[in-house]
């Protein structure tokens, strides 16, 4: 046995043994992901979007535009009060107030990403805890929590959102809260299903035989096996939440003017039928939303493939 091992190490042929570092599931997934061109394109796009959102203010300064101050000159609005089409002055045209669309898109990216990521983190966190507890303990705990998740799922999303906004007024906190509350039970159910299978595995029994308590088993034995599905599901939830924020803002329930949001821009563009004369007002926020959701969705699919242990060799490309 030891000769065999020595051969593998290279210590048999006089070389110093190479340091042995295990290639973990994460590393294998990363190697697969690196060979996936679609995934890389999505990562690049999302990275650019994040940079654009984080540095929205300096970028706007650079192009000499403001998202809030209307251009009162001849390039802002036509004499009839119609937005001006894309030109060298305003690259993506202006909106109904004569504001620069590109600048508003950059600031809108902040809102979209903030809501998308924060709501997703909240949903995943809540879903992970509730799903794990329900699946692990089973019995009455499970029945209660599973029914509760069903109830949440059957709540009418828009009506509750309307009621909450009517009571507390629109704000980004309410937006995130409403979105998170309505979507955590989906990941919760998925986690519960996985835990139901995981808790029957021998390694859980082995941990119990070693004297591990419930909390330790849930955190150290079960949750590491949930990382892959949670990452995939989280990535797929982000675009859903971004669209959710856009929907709320479109209906005037989300981000408050003058703050910019893609959904709110879409609403403004369609409200007075402005898009019939100013296509850019509708098209650019729409494209931003489309490409962002597409990038996250494709990345989620690629991650699912990369993290799938059943998918053959680590180094096999697509």
């Amino acid at each position: 046995m030891s000769e065999l091992l020595a051969e593998v190490d290279g210590s048999a042929n006089g070389l110093p043994p190479a340091p042995i570092e295990g290639r973990g599931p994460g590393q294998i997934a990363w190697q697969r992901l690196r060979r996936d061109r679609v995934a890389i394109a999505c990562v690049v796009f999302i990275a650019l979007l994040v940079v654009a959102a984080v540095f929205a203010a300096p970028l706007c300064h650079l192009i000499g535009q403001s998202p809030y101050t209307p251009d009162r000159g001849p390039h802002g609005l036509s004499p009839e009060g119609i937005p001006i089409e894309p030109s060298t002055h305003h690259w993506l045209g202006t909106d109904d107030q004569g504001r620069d669309i590109l600048a508003r898109l950059l600031y809108g990216a902040q809102i979209s990403l903030l809501v998308g990521v924060v709501a997703t983190v909240l949903e995943i966190g809540l879903g992970l805890v509730v799903g794990t507890v329900a699946g692990y303990y089973g019995g009455r705990t499970d029945t209660f929590l599973a029914r509760f998740m069903d109830v949440v799922l059957s709540f009418p999303f828009l009506i509750t959102a309307l009621a909450l906004v009517a009571r507390f007024g629109p704000s980004i906190v309410i937006t995130i809260g409403v979105i998170a509350f309505f979507s955590w039970s989906q990941p919760g159910r998925i986690v519960r299903g996985q835990v139901l299978a995981l808790r029957e595995r021998d390694f859980v029994e082995a941990a119990r035989a070693s004297g591990a308590g419930d909390l330790r088993i849930m955190v150290r034995e079960i949750m590491p096996n949930l990382i892959a599905p949670v990452i995939v599901y989280g990535t797929l939830l982000i675009p859903v939440n971004i669209v959710g924020e856009a929907t709320l803002s479109f209906l005037g329930l989300g981000v408050v003017v003058p703050k910019a949001s893609w959904g709110q821009m879409l609403a403004d563009a369609s409200n007075q039928g402005l898009y019939t004369v100013a296509w850019w007002y509708l098209v650019f926020p729409g494209l931003a939303l489309l490409f962002t959701t597409l990038a996250f969705n494709l990345l989620g699919d690629s991650l699912r493939d990369a993290l799938d242990p059943r998918r053959g060799g680590a180094l096999r490309g697509r």
């Binding site: 046995m1 295990g22 021998d202 082995a206 941990a207 119990r208 035989a209 070693s210 004297g211 096996n225």
Partner: protein, 343 residues
């Protein structure tokens, strides 16, 4: 350490409710997985536990390991009653009783490094920390024949035999006194099996272990065990010293089981006939009345269907216990009895 057996199982019973339609029936059908088992393990011995699948071997192992509560009966470890203890009170006892699992793939968490898996019992019982624990884990890896430098590898990077060694190292981490081996080599290749069995035999001497060794491979059990117990449908039907049981089995079921062991020499096996049992093992949901084996036993008489035979001294060897109304006598030809048909 007190005098007497290291482990005593007294009248252990484990019933599982049958999950019928939606909810487990109250007072409804129950699987009689373990149905009144008495066993004793002396310090330092290896008790082999054999039987068909479904005979309750693994359930008995889980009861002794404290992984499942008993329906009835008592389990006494080193003079201390351990059934019905709360989880907190059970924890110090867990240090003394560890378990090796059958499936070397399922019993190691695929998302954790083997160093952390082996060190887990130490972490749970707060023994050592940091470098000391790492050192202890690497020592354990060396003891079980693993390269300590593979500390940072994941289970997927090991072969089945190596994984089973990881499982053994984990079980040894707390220096237990009783090691329950639940089919430790059944999932392994023939070529690896011998290595792991020999490792277990060496470790028994090195660590002063007592084994409960569960297997359905009778040859392996004979090789490692000092005593052997045979289970059928949730009951122990025969217990004896290994040589006595293999040489002079008294229970008809044991006879049938032993005759089914393949003999490597074709000339030796040609003169030998297998006792072919008719029928299937009855369902443990509704075990037969009287002796559980009477539905398939070539020697069954009317009393066998009516009264359950007690586990008493049989045969010529002392300490040879059997539960049969009509034990097989030395020289008796059971095959002829089958040929002539049931009496």
């Amino acid at each position: 350490m007190t005098e007497g057996p290291l482990l005593a199982v007294e009248g252990a019973v484990k019933h599982f409710p049958v999950r019928g339609a939606r909810r487990p029936g109250r007072g409804g059908a129950r699987v009689h997985a373990v149905d009144g088992v008495d066993l004793e393990l002396q310090p330092g011995e290896t008790l082999g536990l054999v039987g068909e699948s479904g005979s309750g071997k693994s359930t008995l192992a889980r009861l002794i390991a404290g992984l499942q509560p008993l329906t009835a009966g008592r389990i006494i470890f080193d003079g201390q009653r351990m059934d019905g203890l709360s989880r907190r009170r059970l924890r110090p006892l867990r240090r003394d009783i560890q378990m090796i699992f059958q499936d070397p793939y399922g019993s190691l968490n695929p998302r954790r490094r083997v160093g952390s898996i082996i060190g887990d019992p130490l972490a749970i019982h707060r023994q050592g920390s940091g470098a000391a624990r790492r050192r202890a884990v690497q020592d354990l890896m060396e003891v079980v024949g693993l390269n300590p430098e593979h500390y940072n590898r994941f289970p997927a990077e090991f072969s089945g035999g190596q994984r089973q060694r990881v499982g053994i190292a984990r079980a040894l981490a707390l220096r237990p006194r009783l090691l329950i081996c639940d089919e430790p080599v059944s999932a392994l290749d023939m070529s690896i099996r011998a290595q792991v069995v020999n490792l277990l035999t060496d470790l028994r001497a090195e660590f002063g272990l007592t084994y409960l060794f569960i297997a359905h491979d009778l040859a392996v059990v004979r090789h490692v065990s000092t005593r052997v117990a045979v289970m059928y449908l949730g009951k122990v039907v025969e217990v004896a010293a290994a040589e006595a049981l293999y040489a002079r089995p008294t229970h008809p079921y044991t006879n049938a089981l032993l005759s089914a062991v393949p003999v490597p020499d074709p000339r030796a096996s040609s003169g030998r006939e297998q006792i072919i049992l008719t029928g299937e093992m009855p369902s443990p949901v509704a075990p037969p009345a009287g002796c559980r084996f009477h539905t398939r036993c070539p020697k069954a008489q009317s009393i066998c269907a009516e009264q359950e035979p007690p586990l008493v001294e049989t045969g010529t060897d002392s300490g040879h216990l059997g539960a049969c109304w009509f034990p097989v006598q030395p020289g008796e030809d059971l095959i002829a009895a089958i040929r002539s048909g049931p009496p």
